[in-house]
């Protein structure tokens, strides 16, 4: 049973437009949610996080929204740039700071 799901394996967006990546979870015990970005042949790198008691966190072009009643979070990238093309993973953080990752969404930003 996957506790964190990213139902869209891929997303294609035009440069300058908004990218919206979605994530659903089933575990109500997650304290934080984190987004990671991964380029080919590299390890994931941290992008942004949100506490479970917040509904929005913003960092430059990146904003994460959390809807606890729907058990849904989303990452908005505005404006999207070609360098944002990567695989994005959402993760829930539970007890002991353990992360449970979704399957990832491949974002392609076209120039």
């Amino acid at each position: 049973d996957q506790q964190v799901k990213q139902n869209s394996p891929s997303l294609s967006v035009q440069e300058g437009r908004i990218s919206i990546l979605n994530c659903d979870y089933t575990n109500s015990m997650f304290d934080y949610f984190l987004w990671y970005k991964k380029y080919p042949a590299e390890g994931p790198t941290f992008l942004i996080s949100i506490s479970s008691i917040k509904d929005k966190n913003e960092d430059g072009r990146f904003t994460v929204f959390l809807n606890k009643s729907a058990k849904h979070l989303s990452l908005h990238i505005v404006p999207s740039q070609p360098g944002d093309s990567a695989v994005y993973f959402c993760a829930g953080e539970g007890a002991g700071n353990m992360l449970t990752f979704g399957g990832g969404t491949r974002l392609m930003v076209k120039p």
Binding site: D31, L34, Y36, A41, P44, F46, F89, N97, F101, G102
Partner: protein, 116 residues
């Protein structure tokens, strides 16, 4: 400051062979982790350590062993490799403070392992 490094970058094993993957971090982090990444399944936690001399099982520990003899190193061992262990392995480390969360994990570049 190298961050998290992993050795080797690539390896091909035959079924039944053994090997050890080495992870090193120079950030003085207490927590270290081993993940495997398979297509469409994200990263799954194999084992983790909350400090020198401690280890614990993650989501998919079977077939793997780990050791944390020094704070900066975390070793992942495969005693008898199987084709199902073909994967990309990532090590990570994090700073953790009791009772808080949201600290990012820093990942190494990965080890691509193929078991024939």
């Amino acid at each position: 400051n190298a961050g998290v490094t992993q050795t080797p970058k690539f390896r091909v094993l035959k079924t039944g062979q053994s090997m050890t993957l080495l992870c090193a971090q120079d950030m003085n982090h207490e927590y270290m982790y081993w993940y495997r990444q398979d297509p469409g399944m994200g990263l799954r936690l194999i084992h983790y350590s909350v400090g020198e001399g401690t280890t614990a099982k993650g989501e998919v520990p079977d077939g793997y062993n780990v050791s944390r003899l020094k704070k900066q190193n975390f070793l992942l061992g495969l005693e008898s490799a199987a084709p199902s262990q073909t994967s990309v392995y990532f090590c990570a480390s994090s700073l953790s403070v009791e009772g808080t969360g949201g600290y990012e994990q820093f990942f190494g570049p990965g080890t691509r392992l193929t078991v024939l």
